[in-house]
Amino acid sequence: MSERLKIGFLPLVDAALPILAKEHGFAAEQGLDLEFVRDLSWATVLDRLLYGHTDAAHMIAPLAIATTLGIGRPARQMSVPFVLGLNGNAITVSNDLAERIQPEGGLGQAAPVGARLAETIATLGRKPVFGVVHRHSSHNYMLRYWLAACGIKPDRDIDIVTIAPPFAADALESGEIDGICVGEPWNSVAVERGVGRIVLTTAQIWRRGVEKVLAVPTAKLEERRGAFERLIIAMRKAGEHFVDPANWNVNARILSRPEYVGADPALILHAISDRLRLEKGGELVHFPDFMFQYREAANFPWVSQAAWLYAQMVRWDAPHFDPAAAKRAMGVFRPDVYRAALTGRDAPLPGASSKVEGGIAAPTGVGAQQGRLVMSPDNFFDGKTFDPERLEDYLASLP
């Protein structure tokens, strides 16, 4: 008898792992029958999760934390036992703006592009408008992090609005927005339509930025713990399949189907092979860490990642730092569940559950509870590091 799990998602390439776990039979091997519910807004993905239409969801990580803290609605305790991937987003701007901030074409560098954006704002005579997918998204926090570190004050110098990903290209074309920070395939869709250029990837802002997560209401996780641990095993296998170049084509075709992402398989192939066309008619550009998966325990829910997201929430949204709220936010990420699922299996498990984010400058072997783990550079572009033990000092040090 297989056990059914219903999973909510938004049509984005980074919903890949649970989908591929089903399509390649890794879930069935674990006695799971996965069913998917496709939606078009995070609000609806969350509603379905909270009211039992789904058991788990592909979700923007900060939304799981905001829901736990009761921001905007009554608090409901959420758990994140698995990170669905790192980065995979890009910043696409209108052709006009690209001409000013990345005139030489190609992929820019975060600091000089930011500096030219600051100069442009000074002469533009109006506030540029940037779109993000949700207030509680890594897109919003990465964009703001980059802007602030380049001397641009979000909200004062620039307007940041919410745009549903499928409408990103429309909004760029109509001039409703000047730029957007969004996941794939929506940057590439805008490029193919000739309405914008990709100037930066979020991996250039934070090399190992936490992106979508698998979110589960904590009560549901406890109730069906065995099924979720088996789902983690199946998704890890899907990750191994996902990063193997031999499988890129078949996976792009699966994800492109209308019941999943519903987009051109060629564009999805770009994202999963870390190759992007930055402007219409241009060459594919290879950026190795564009969408970081599977390797280096990329799916491990580091408590320090939750802490960084909480820090950004306080920085841009919440009125005050609150140690109790910080503790609750950090408790959303559940390395204990990830470890329990993969102990005794072929998966490296780090010795620690928290790390100094941005602290690795060169490939470094780290202590492991199981297997061997070498971590590559995970730097922020401005060279700052984030120590979750010193959250208040970190907040005080930010521009």
Binding site: D39, S41, A43, D47, Y51, G72, R73, V161, I163
Partner: protein, 193 residues
């Protein structure tokens, strides 16, 4: 009270609006276009906003309500914990409600219940319509399959139908499915249809 109905399905929005028209002292507006959504809502100054769960603009709308907290009449999602049941029913039906701060709770419940009933009624209509369409397609396939048998095997119409029916009974399938299979087989074998 002023109610804005945001729904990309104009037909469903009309059914909800008609349902709400029976309420006393109730002014409604329907917004089906994504473009200019926020401006239209702002201009209408609603007490309540009803929006279908499938609407891709939900996050945009919620962001607007969050930002407008500084305004005189903040709007928030209706998530009254004392009435979990009717919220769950509204999510089941596929509608979300946003309510102006301070709007009395006892006025919301009957309204939300009504919206839920109307959403459910629309879903039933859609199901009925899909069924009716299916039946029409079935009938067309059966007619084509009959003609095929009549032409290829020289049967009369009643004989052709009898043949389809007995094959369906033997293989415990619907007559329409047997007809469809026959048409597909004919196409694969290069029939001149």
């Amino acid at each position: 009270m002023r109610i804005a109905i945001v729904d990309e399905s104009a037909a469903r929005a009309a059914i909800i609006q008609e349902g709400l028209a029976g309420l006393d002292d109730c002014e409604t507006t329907v917004i089906t276009e994504r473009r200019g959504l926020i401006a239209q809502i702002a201009a209408f100054e609603p007490d309540i906003v009803l929006m279908d769960l499938g609407n891709p603009s939900r996050d945009v709308l919620e962001e607007y309500f969050t930002v407008s907290k500084a305004l005189a009449k903040p709007i928030a999602m209706f998530v009254d914990e004392s009435d979990e049941e009717s919220i769950a029913a509204s999510v089941d039906a596929g509608v979300s409600a946003y309510v102006v701060d301070g709007f009395s709770k006892h006025r919301i419940k009957p309204l939300l219940d009504l919206a839920v009933r109307r959403f459910n009624a629309f879903s039933r209509l859609e199901t009925d319509l899909a069924e009716a369409r299916g039946q029409l397609a079935d009938r067309a396939n059966i007619d084509k399959a009959k003609r095929l048998l009549m032409n290829s095997r020289g049967l009369s119409e009643p004989e052709a139908y009898k043949e389809l029916r007995s094959t369906a009974m033997r293989s415990s399938k619907r007559i329409a499915d047997v007809a469809e299979a026959l048409l597909i087989a004919e196409e694969l074998l290069g029939g001149n249809r």
